[in-house]
């Protein structure tokens, strides 16, 4: 066999394209997150019921800063709007608007974190309080961790989308999905912790 006619060893073919792997992974992660937040809220309701059934007030001494908590709810839902705008702009190949949308998303996430810190400082809940403190900081602290994770996701999505991969909008879609889920989760936390108290 001459060199010209020898078979050429080709590298393995490209792997079959995964079916929107990141989006599906985010969705599955959101299901797990729902069980986490849902389970914690269920325990909250159970313990609150015990206190109320015993004839006490829940919480006993603290005044909830409702304006700030309502603003946090509005912030996180408007944040979803900007995350969705990033998907729209990414699909159109519009780098400037994708950057703007992701930037605003990040700023709103920071605003949410700031508002949570404000609520904590204004309410002044003692963590070693008889029954409320540990519950309050566990739930709201976890929600804050979710928003911080979302902020990290926003930064990663921004690097990914703006560093030459604008056409691949799956990461932007997954990012938007995460924020929709975070908004839904906060809505549940807001209703249980700050509205029904």
């Amino acid at each position: 066999v001459s060199a010209a006619t020898a078979p050429v060893a080709l590298p393995p073919a490209a792997a079959p394209a995964p079916r929107r792997q990141l989006l599906m992974g985010t969705a599955v992660g959101c299901v797990a997150g729902t069980m986490l937040i849902g389970g914690m809220l269920a325990v909250w309701v159970l313990l609150r019921e015990r206190v109320v059934d015993a004839g006490e007030r829940f919480p006993l001494d603290y005044i909830i800063h409702e304006v700030a908590t309502n603003i946090m709810l509005m912030t996180i839902w408007s944040l979803c709007l900007f995350a969705q705008w990033a998907v729209y702009a990414g699909n159109r190949g519009d780098r400037a608007h994708t950057a703007l949308a992701l930037g605003v998303t990040g700023v709103l996430a920071l605003a949410f974190i700031n508002a949570q810190a404000f609520v904590w400082s204004q309410m002044g809940v003692e963590i070693a309080d008889e029954y409320y403190g540990a519950l309050f900081y566990a739930v709201t602290g976890l929600m804050l961790a979710v928003v911080v994770a979302g902020l990290v996701f926003t930064v990663v999505a921004a690097f990914h989308a703006l560093a030459g991969r604008l056409g691949e909008t799956e990461v932007l879609s997954a990012h938007a999905l995460f924020w929709y889920w975070a908004a839904a989760a906060y809505s549940a936390v807001w209703f249980v912790v700050y509205v029904t108290k």
Partner: protein
């Protein structure tokens, strides 16, 4: 006189060889600890899972000796609370969970025709998080931590470790579930997904539904115990009551699904026939997954009381049929579907009964018995829960052991079956077959006496305090209690022996010389048997389009038909 003089060049060469060998060991170790190859991650999980389960069986053996004789001072009484928790946590989070998820990680992408698992770094991080968390749990328990523990820092460490281990399992489960949903070969619809991969999907989703709830509760307990007033959760003695549900049936059934998948996969292979009523088998495995709902709602016992007007009975029966009945129906469906395949396959010729099938079948039967026991436990009139102490009877412990040890047997079968793809070695049937019989004898001997002792009101459960452990360890209040406990401890010993022998055998076979191996030595039906043994790091050089649920079986039938046609057409 003979003078031996080493040539300077020789010593340099020897030094270089030593350096090269050391470098090679370090490189090899580094490749293992940082590998994103799902086969390696899966083997790490199963290896450590076997190790922890073996240690747990030994702890159970020691506890059994102390439990069988009340007056014995074999173990210091102050250590019993922690040892019993090591046993319960080790069975589930340390043993059965990593075994199940490990086999799923190692095999599922191969079965899907994928070149890699989805999010391999997440899967690897999950493994290390689980390993670190489990280590912390055992360290904390060894230093007077755990539920009801005397050292506050070690109680915190126990909670942190448990949370980390559960979080790690969740991360890996996310990787497995996403793989099945997104990385299937072209043409592999969800109905064509291999039965084992399907069971892995259901198990992974079940873990993602159940374990986050445990993580949430652990966050509460940690914050409350570390920083709070300890008023909400009854302090250190309340911890057991809040987390105990995660270490018993029905929660452990979620981890048993891959073992059922192994059995469902091996029956058609053994009887060289397509899986009969395959869709029904898929549904059956899905129904077993309903156990995750029962675990999430923490419905360990349904209030089904037989009364004269029937009202309480009917009101209690509905949730029992859903939460405990559907998993039992599911495992029955899997068993019936397998029997139909056996019937159809037996008509076509003698089956090829090999060691993995024996392991898989025993695993299915033992896990099935555990799921049935979980169903029976719900009948309130049987009084299998001590309403005074809140602890359960040993019936619950027996049911949990059936599920855990049955799963371990099934996973061992899976490791033997897929060893050509994972290690490039075939484990000889004559070596491993006796271990299947030994393991099933151990599992039954460990669990069945406890089921019987449960009817005699022998107490068990997850202990929350020294008072609880005193009740659990006491056998003299029950007639014949010590006999049943003694039989059970022998079972734990036999199980420990079979786990040790299996681990040693696997280690010996898989580190031995490579065989010239057929790519499909068991006649497997699914796509992974089309690649080389062992499978390369990227699994497949070429991923074919899948046109049926049993592509390798169809290919073999086609080849046989072509050969027959050629023979008939050739001149005599």
């Amino acid at each position: 006189m003979t003078t031996i003089q080493t040539h300077p060049d020789d010593s340099v060469a020897a030094g270089s060889a030593r350096d090269a060998a050391a470098a090679s060991i370090f490189t090899g170790a580094a490749e293992w600890v940082t590998s994103t190859d799902h086969k390696r991650i899966g083997r790490l999980y199963t290896g450590f899972g076997l190790l922890v389960l073996l240690a747990t069986a030994v702890v159970a053996l020691l506890l059994g000796i102390a439990r069988a004789d009340d007056s014995s001072e074999f173990i210091d009484a102050s250590a019993l609370l922690q040892l019993f928790q090591m046993y319960r946590v080790g069975l589930v989070v340390g043993g059965v969970a990593p075994l199940a998820i490990g086999l799923a990680v190692a095999v599922t992408p191969l079965q899907l025709g994928a070149r890699s698992i989805a999010f391999p770094r997440v899967a690897l991080t999950g493994f290390y998080t689980w390993l670190g968390g489990t280590t912390l749990v055992f360290v904390a328990l060894g230093a007077n931590g755990g539920a009801g523990g005397g050292d506050a820092d070690m109680v915190d460490l126990f909670l942190a470790g448990l949370g980390l281990a559960s979080f790690g399992l969740c991360a890996t489960a996310l990787s497995v579930a996403t793989s099945v949903l997104t990385t299937r070969a072209p043409g592999m619809t969800m109905r064509r997904v291999p039965l084992f991969a399907w069971s892995s999907l259901i198990s992974a989703l079940g873990m993602l539904l159940v374990l986050p709830i445990l993580v949430g509760i652990v966050i509460y307990l940690f914050v409350d115990h570390r920083l709070g007033s300890q008023g909400n959760f009854m302090g250190v003695e309340g911890i057991g009551a809040w987390i105990g549900w995660a270490f018993t049936v029905p929660a452990v059934i979620v981890f048993a699904l891959p073992a059922l998948g192994v059995a469902a996969e091996l029956v058609p292979v053994t009887f060289r026939h397509r899986s009969v009523m395959r869709g029904t088998a898929l549904a059956g495995l899905g129904l077993v997954g309903v156990a995750s709902y029962a675990a999430a709602t923490q419905q360990l016992v349904q209030d089904v009381t037989f009364d004269t007007d029937g009202e309480t009975f009917v009101r209690g029966l509905a949730p029992m049929l859903i939460l405990a009945g559907l998993p039992l129906l599911g495992v029955t469906v899997v068993l019936l579907s397998s029997m139909l395949t056996v019937k159809s396959g037996a008509a076509g010729g003698a089956p090829s009964i090999r060691a993995p099938f024996v392991f898989g079948l025993f695993g299915l039967l033992v896990v099935g018995a555990g799921i049935a026991a979980n169903f029976v436990q719900g009948i309130t009139d049987l009084e299998l829960v001590d309403t005074v102490s809140g602890l359960s009877s040993t019936f619950e412990e027996g049911a949990t052991l059936l599920v855990v040890y049955g799963t371990a047997i099934g996973v061992m079968g899976g490791l033997v079956f897929w060893s050509p793809k994972l290690w490039g070695r075939l484990v000889a049937d004559k070596l491993v077959m006796p271990l299947a019989l030994l393991a099933v004898a151990g599992a039954l001997l460990a669990a069945v006496p406890l089921l019987i002792a449960g009817f005699l009101d022998q107490v068990s459960g997850y202990p929350a305090s020294q008072a609880d452990i005193d009740l659990i360890m006491s056998t003299d209040q029950v007639d014949g209690g010590a006999i049943w406990i003694t039989l059970s401890l022998i079972g734990h010993g036999v199980m420990a022996l079979s786990l040790l022998a299996f681990g040693g055998l696997l280690l010996k076979v898989c580190t031995g010389d490579a065989d010239a191996l057929d790519d499909n030595p068991y006649g497997g039906h699914t796509i992974e048997w089309g690649t080389t043994s062992p499978a390369p790091a990227h699994n497949f050089d070429h991923v074919a389009t899948v046109a049926s649920a049993e592509p390798r079986l169809v290919a073999r039938i086609d080849e046989t038909a072509t050969a027959d046609t050629t023979q008939e057409g050739s001149p005599s």
